[in-house]
């Protein structure tokens, strides 16, 4: 009769419903999946470096012991500092230290420049790759999609045939070999491009800042890698967009749109374009991953100091902490790119935003 307590109680059933409701939102699910992936890769990296035979930590310890004659304990402590873990501790503890280290941004220190945090080194090189690859893929995707749509509208015409041929050719030649060809032909044989001056990410003496000088200088140096990325990936976009546009043009709602007397421009943009561009987004994520991978090769040819360049350098010098850090950072970057493209896709296509069902 008389209410003895009036405090609100969140009952377990209600909490479960709320959680389920939140989980049903596509965005939340997608972000959780990304975090999980990064976590799994970080874990994989951890075990890769530690548990495989000939793991670099042991190698380092043994080298230190044999070269400098220090004890296992001392060598292990040194390794602890460098690899951001302590090899003396039991594995679960190491794992926990590793994870918390990452959360704090501590990826260990470089073996070859002791005292320099891996994170700092990686962040010095990463922006250049992000800049060149990002710009390259965006230009390639935008231009390629427009061309692909044009090819679909003018199917069978000379534009279609020529562009198909060119795109096949460009798609075949590996991007680093194209890079070499550019250097050989335009740089050496024809002497059109000042290859030596175009090396590196920016000219010596130019300070990184947000000035026009710096940006134009950065563009100057990035132009060759970007050209290579664009030329070797544009064919893929053209093909995807052409196929998708052809499919969309055959759909009933396009005939209905024409029947409704809509203007061609409106049909091309909101009816054909929007539907045809959908497959581009998943492809974007894949291509980004591929080009970032390829950066290890292309940046070598152009001596462009991006993350790929750093990666090769670290491999050659067996700088394992840096390698570990690069692997993690690159993964995070690729996962983030995947996330963004998936979220954009869901913005465009309302059919995806439904309840948690079967993921495609």
């Amino acid at each position: 009769m008389v209410a003895s307590d009036t405090e609100p109680v969140v009952r377990p059933a209600l909490l479960r419903r709320i959680t389920a409701r939140i989980y049903h939102i596509y965005v939340v699910r997608r972000v959780l999946k990304s975090i999980l992936t990064v976590y799994l890769v970080a874990t994989g990296t951890f075990f890769l470096v530690r548990l495989l035979p000939g793991n670099p930590v042991e190698v380092y310890i043994n080298t230190q012991m044999s070269q400098y004659g220090i004890s296992y304990q001392d060598a292990a402590s040194q390794a602890a500092g460098l690899f951001s873990f302590n090899p003396n501790r039991p594995l679960p503890e190491q794992y926990w230290e590793y994870l918390t280290g990452i959360a704090h941004g501590d990826l260990g220190q470089s073996l070859l420049s002791p005292g320099t945090p891996v994170l700092h080194i990686v962040l010095e090189y990463l922006p250049w790759t992000v800049f060149s690859v990002g710009l390259g893929v965006l230009i390639s995707c935008g231009l390629g999609s427009l061309l692909g749509m044009l090819m679909a509208y003018r199917r069978g015409g000379w534009i279609d045939h020529t562009l198909s041929l060119i795109s096949s050719l460009l798609h075949s030649i590996p991007n680093y070999l194209l890079a070499m060809l550019i250097v050989v032909f335009f740089g050496v044989q024809l002497d059109v491009l000042p290859i030596a001056a175009m090396r590196g990410a920016y000219s010596p003496g130019v300070t990184p800042e947000f000035s026009l000088d710096f940006i134009s200088d950065a563009m100057y140096h990035a132009s060759l890698p970007i050209t290579v990325y664009v030329l070797t990936t544009i064919g893929g976009w053209m093909l995807v967009m052409k196929a998708s546009t052809v499919d969309t043009l055959g759909e009933d709602f396009i005939t209905v749109a024409r029947a409704r007397g809509l203007r061609d421009s409106r049909i091309a943009s909101a009816y054909v374009g929007r539907n045809a561009v959908l497959p581009v987004f998943p492809q974007l994520a894949i291509t980004l991953g591929f080009v970032v991978g390829g950066s290890i090769l292309v940046e070598q040819v152009f001596q462009y100091q991006g993350i790929g360049f750093l990666l090769l350098q670290s491999v050659q010098r067996r700088d394992y902490p840096v390698l570990q850090g690069i692997l993690l950072v690159v993964t995070i970057a690729v996962v983030a790119a995947n996330l963004v493209s998936d979220l954009l896709y869901s913005r465009l296509d309302p059919r995806v935003r439904g309840t948690a069902g079967e993921s495609s």
Binding site: T255, A257, A259, R260, G261, L262, R263, R266, R274, P350
Partner: protein, 347 residues
């Protein structure tokens, strides 16, 4: 009364891997204001192609080598639709004649909300302030018994087949067209939804007075909705007349065959018949009348020359050399007395 649409000797050709095929081989008919005309036939007879050709919506491989489609505008001026240029055609479409496609099809852009697609439709033809447009759209949705608040913000995949069909009908009325062409309006819908759609169409015709052409294989639908019926076979109209004339006094053996195959809902179940054989391939039509291989009335002259539509009564024509002999009476099922009138598939 002057017809609102006059089709004269319309021919529609498709380019196929096996050569050009004529899906419509010389069709002529008139459509009068406010009337409802049904185009009935089996799959492949050319009825859908005919419907598309009227609005020049044929796919790329289709073309109209000859014929006229004369349309009378509200002011009285007559134009040949086949001669309109692109922009004139665009403006003609939907504002003068609209087409309602099958609701089960992917007829709406899956990425746009219904209200955006409605808005697109209106904006393509008229300048209208936003509030007036809103009122028009809501009004037209209510006319098809849909709740605007529920339907307008929705995406197509959130609507049922019946709701989509009604949205399409509503969309077709936005610009108050004189003619509505419907392609299989009730196919692939369940019985109750079919009923709802037919009721809606009755109402709309009474309210708004547009002329209607609908294409179907569904005879009972024609009996309900049509004022006049045309049956099509192998790309031509082979019988054309008022709905009662056609259903009670058919004069083409094919029409008789179609009627004989449909069971009546009331009364005793008669013997159901089917027409032996199948429709001919348009690439290899039989000589003379295309129906003669399957026809119980066929004689030598049927193979010699293809019959044209000729009068059998006022406002009723049939394309058969022996139309005066054709009659239709249903035989009761085994156990009843058999009348001695001939039925097409018998002999």
């Amino acid at each position: 009364m002057e017809p609102i649409l006059s089709v004269r000797d319309l021919v529609v050709e498709y380019r196929t891997a096996a050569g050009p095929v004529r899906a419509v081989r010389g069709v002529s008919f008139d459509l009068y204001p406010h009337e409802s005309l049904a185009l009935i036939g089996e799959s492949g007879c050319g009825k859908t192609t005919l419907g598309l050709a009227l609005l020049r919506l044929l796919p790329k491989l289709g073309s109209v080598p000859s014929g006229e489609v004369l349309y009378r505008r509200r002011g009285g001026e007559v134009v040949d639709l086949l001669k309109l240029d692109r922009e004139e055609l665009r403006r003609f479409r939907w504002s003068e004649a609209a087409m309602v496609f099958q609701g089960s099809m992917n007829s709406l852009n899956p990425l746009l909300r219904v209200r955006d697609q409605m808005r697109d439709t209106v904006r393509a033809h008229r300048r209208m302030p936003a509030d007036e447009l809103g009122r028009l759209v809501k009004d037209v949705l209510r006319k098809v018994q849909l709740d605007p608040e529920r339907v307008l913000p929705a995406y197509p995949h959130e609507l049922s087949g019946g709701m989509k069909q009604r949205v399409l009908i509503a969309m077709s009325l936005l610009l108050d067209p004189q003619i509505l062409v419907l392609d299989e309006p009730t196919t692939a819908l369940d019985i109750r939804t079919q009923r709802a759609i037919v009721d809606v169409l009755h109402e709309l015709r009474a309210q708004l007075g547009f002329a209607m052409i609908f294409v179907s294989h569904d005879l009972p639908l024609a009996a309900e909705l049509a004022d006049r019926v045309a049956t099509m076979y192998a790309g031509r109209i082979i019988e054309l007349g008022g709905v009662r004339d056609l259903f009670y006094r058919p004069r083409h053996p094919y029409t008789v065959g179609l009627l004989g195959a449909v069971p009546p809902v009331v009364g005793d179940l008669p013997e159901l018949t089917s027409i032996p054989g199948g429709p001919p391939s348009l690439l290899a039509l039989p000589p003379g009348c295309p129906f003669q291989p399957r026809c119980g009335y066929a004689e030598a002259d049927c193979e010699a020359a293809e019959p044209d539509l000729a009068a059998v009564a006022a406002g009723h024509t049939a394309a058969c050399h022996h139309r005066d002999r054709v009659s239709y009476a249903r035989k009761p099922a085994a156990g009843g007395s058999a009348p001695d009138e001939r039925v097409a598939s018998g002999g």
